[in-house]
Symmetry: C2
Subunit: 421 residues, 2 copies
Amino acid sequence: MSASDYAALTPGSLPARLGGLDLLTRRIGPAEGWQVEEVGDGNLNLVFILRGSLGAAIVKQALPYVRLVGESWPLPLKRSFFEYHALQRQAARDPGSVPELWHFDEAQALIVMEYLSPHIILRHGLIAGKRYGGLGERLGQFCARTLFRGSDLSMKAAEKKADLALFAGNIELCDITENLVFSDPYFEAALNRHTPGLEAAVARLRGDLALKVAAQHLKMAFTSQAETLLHGDLHTGSVMVSERDIRVIDPEFATYGPIGFDIGMLMANFLMACLAQPGHAESPGARSGYQSWLLSVTAAVWTSFEAEFTRLWREERQGILYQATLYEDQRHGLASEIARGERLGAIWRDALGFCGVEIHRRILGLAHNADFERIDDVALRAACEARALALGTALIHSRHTLSGTQALLDLAARVNTEDHL
Amino acid sequence: MSASDYAALTPGSLPARLGGLDLLTRRIGPAEGWQVEEVGDGNLNLVFILRGSLGAAIVKQALPYVRLVGESWPLPLKRSFFEYHALQRQAARDPGSVPELWHFDEAQALIVMEYLSPHIILRHGLIAGKRYGGLGERLGQFCARTLFRGSDLSMKAAEKKADLALFAGNIELCDITENLVFSDPYFEAALNRHTPGLEAAVARLRGDLALKVAAQHLKMAFTSQAETLLHGDLHTGSVMVSERDIRVIDPEFATYGPIGFDIGMLMANFLMACLAQPGHAESPGARSGYQSWLLSVTAAVWTSFEAEFTRLWREERQGILYQATLYEDQRHGLASEIARGERLGAIWRDALGFCGVEIHRRILGLAHNADFERIDDVALRAACEARALALGTALIHSRHTLSGTQALLDLAARVNTEDHL
């Protein structure tokens, strides 16, 4: 099928175009009874909820441009192909972590999958002040399983190299990350915007030469450290939660990159959720307990990642790195544990750096997040954002020396009490 | 053409099979007058010198197995494809650094190229005690140009990702490096062999847990740090020299990897050449001045790499990393220089580590080098090799702290005076 066959779906056209899919009608009922609602609130794609007499489905279709910006910024449909392949791998590497995949149409750049209900986007829950049991633990586990099992620690070398080559084709979405995350925030790029009142904080940040150097070292790590298949965009808008279930969605930015990337991005989004809480508090201080909970979730992401990574290292290290042949089989199990500790140290340092740049770009770049955006009081929003910027800078500068999660929480708690405008 | 059309050339069959190539007959004369000699002394391939009435050519053909081992170790013909593509890129990135390419036949896995005369393999010259003006300088320059220009510092991101994907197909040759360089030397692998008398030194090395950890960190860097297109096997047997010319050959191990890899491997081979000299001396001490020269060449590889990398950083940094937009254009040229210094520091540390493992594997693994192998006196050979092993270990352990080339030379000079058996 050629690219010219592609046509964006509408609620009106959807039943006629997908009604012939047996797999879909068996699960949700015949097309005559379908109700279709377009619900996409992300930056890039169309998302439809499709309800039938027997059940519901999600239909996600890529648009040939960036939805947030419009047709002036074309973006290839092929991202849907990478999303589908990433979802497949995540489902295999951490069963139950992503929506069940029902159908993929490459030419139409559409994926049909399980409709998660009564799930909501995690970010919305965090703005509303909701708590979810085991949240950080589950997401840390997801990171460990997908990142360990997509790397040379686990895969056959030939399969890892084939996947590296496959996902190296996800050029345009990597380009977005490369520019929007790692470069734009650090100079007055055309697509940037920031809350009025942040001018002094922004000037300090953009005048910090060591920070600008570090951000580019991190960019080089992102473009060159092809350690594992990343989700690539693992923020709290890419997680769906209910009281009993946690799922990860939207891996269209998937690419091979550093193990610390997804973890750092996730921690950044919990830290931002925390620092944004004064803007959502019912009364001054009403969210301080909730802020502490968000800090504990941030820490749990790491501690859970570390624990599961350790378990996998000990039980599933079947790749070409740190082989048992060299260690355990030579009665040098201690060397294996030394190597694991040092490797986790390197991942931690990377994660702190990526955490810092993710915070910066969500406040200074193109793609902001609702945690801050939904604070109507502009002065209050700027005050919250300035604290987050300062924390991001601190994490980048201290990434080689910060000792662990408690030190990280101490920094965040401290910055939360200060004026960084 | 299918793989079954492949047939290994022989001196007898070569004129009939290549005599129809116009490009070749124009350059070296008609096939009727050709004289063919098989001269391959490497580990993997057939190499023919083809002499005609007008000139000469080299015909290099891959065999479907490892020549050093035999048909029991199959190796895909496709390595010839990667060698050809690597040679093309090296020729473009550092004109005049490789033999001129005349013809490539993918199905026959053969490359026809310029015959270099009166060049000899550099390693043979070093064993004979010959000096070549500007040797380290030229090779350092080659590393800087090919490694800088094959990276995200220089290339368009999409082209770099396409090349990363292309060379990710060079699976089997990477597998050789992954096993033979980074793992086998550190345990009693089946293919290993070493000089009698080294037993105590080998036991110390294989009992050094921190070393075994570091070697695997370096292996992970090799498999994951996809920074640039490497030569992949840049030892002194991959360099041809005359009094006036220096060329690099045999890049069939080409893959994306860490910038420091080629540099470290090259330095390792000069250091081994140096430490092997007592085995080639006409009388005791007769080669000590030559040893000093080899140390100066080792240092020159790095200083020349550093100087040329610096020039390219300042003049050709057109890739997506450390962009002028962020630095020079913001009057933050200082940040660009800080970044360059830190990046060179990281390359230096990597290079020292790779230097160490390359020394170890040439003495303990499958593929030894003539520098040591041609020392007939087994006890003397073992004494030289033990010093090299100790130096390799020292470089790996001190790679994060060793201050520069002088410190490196001091270690090598010191080890050369000691007994490390």
